[in-house]
């Protein structure tokens, strides 16, 4: 039985080989819980590095112009990539 693992990598800009500035992992196999230490390093330095290790990219961030008057406002992490990997899982 295969189960999905999701890896969210937040990058410094839109290029998949730019540096990771944040990350999250959600493990559908139930084997691993995300670390809670605030200084836990990202498992990969970039999306490209994760791809080289077998992760599949299933979402890339959309580039969109800022609304007029909102150009200098910031909100969510802009460059969010979502990657998946299918892992064996016991029934």
């Amino acid at each position: 039985m295969k189960r999905q693992q999701l890896l969210f990598l937040y990058l410094g800009n839109s290029a998949p080989d730019s540096s990771a500035i944040g990350w999250s992992i959600y493990d559908g196999t139930g084997k691993e819980k995300p670390p809670t230490a605030v200084d836990s390093p990202p498992p990969y330095d970039s999306v490209l590095a994760a791809m080289l290790d077998g992760w599949r990219v299933i979402q890339v961030p959309t580039l969109k112009p800022d609304l007029q008057g909102q150009e200098y406002h910031t909100d969510y992490l802009t460059f969010e990539y979502v990657l998946e990997r299918l892992e064996d899982c016991d029934e």
Partner: protein
């Protein structure tokens, strides 16, 4: 108010840049013990409704009042939201020993569209909070981000995240928009964090000790950036310029023509 108890300009710049400022050894240990006993007994309730003057929430002879009106705590409050601030709410946050999950990252309340004015929240730690006990984590520099409460909850790790590991008597004053969450508690003891939200009742300009207003070190503090900003670093510096213009009542404050460049429209 003794000037020495107010924040100075460099400390205000730190608040404007990071969205929080921390002070250790603010409260005497005997007062911390009194307050902890109040938390143990669930008796920290105040007597005024939300929106009342802070000065009337707890009786003047009570430990709660003495905690908030310790000179350095009062100095933080008056520097950031002015005298006669308005009580918004308070909470005694409890994280039981053995709670191994981190609280999801979030910003309190709703999206706050105020451009300049801000509330503060005080986090007061009345017992030692070592690493294994948790403490609150804050994302430095997230206070300009307009997000809706826990919609940032899926961000587990962001570079530069700061965890409050401290001794009893530590106080953190933070901007209401700052992203934060409770860390796990790997001990078998209850962890307390007292949170108090306050609203300004005056325009938040030059409320601190401004003797060092022109100190050459201020810009370096204000514009040091964060490791998670990536290519949005410049937009974040615009936010700091805007806030500093407001705080100092100096509408032409700038650094390296960043704002002056885009404001330049000769007629």
């Amino acid at each position: 108010m003794n000037k020495a108890d107010l924040l100075n300009t460099k400390q205000m710049a730190e608040f404007a840049s990071n969205g929080f400022i921390r002070f250790d050894d603010v409260l005497p240990l005997d007062l911390c013990a009194e307050i902890k006993a109040i938390f143990d007994a669930n008796s920290a309730a105040g007597r005024g409704p939300m929106g009342s003057p802070l000065s009337g929430i707890w009786p003047e002879d009570s430990p709660m009042y003495r905690m908030i009106y310790q000179p350095r705590v009062r100095g933080m409050i008056e520097s950031l939201v002015g005298p006669d601030s308005r009580y918004d709410h308070h909470a005694v946050h409890k994280t039981p020993g053995g709670k191994l999950e981190a609280q999801g990252l979030h910003a309190d309340a709703e999206i706050d569209v105020r451009e300049d004015a801000f509330d503060i929240q005080l986090s007061i730690f009345v017992h030692d909070t070592p690493l294994e006990m948790g403490g609150t984590r804050f994302l430095p520099g997230s206070h300009f981000r307009r997000v809706h409460e826990s919609q940032v909850g899926r961000y587990q790790h962001v570079k530069g995240m700061y965890q409050v590991v401290c001794k009893a008597g530590t106080v953190v004053a933070w901007h209401h928009n700052l992203w934060h969450g409770a860390q796990p508690n790997f001990t078998d003891e209850m962890r307390y964090m007292f949170k108090l939200r306050l609203n300004p009742t005056v325009k938040q300009q030059l409320l601190w000790n401004t003797d060092d207003l022109d100190d050459a070190g201020v810009n370096g503090i204000l514009f040091h950036g964060q490791p998670w900003y990536g290519q949005e670093n410049r937009i974040e510096q615009f936010n700091r310029i805007r806030l500093w213009r407001f705080l100092t009542n100096n509408p032409t404050f700038d650094t390296a023509l960043w704002y002056g460049r885009v404001e330049n429209e000769p007629q």
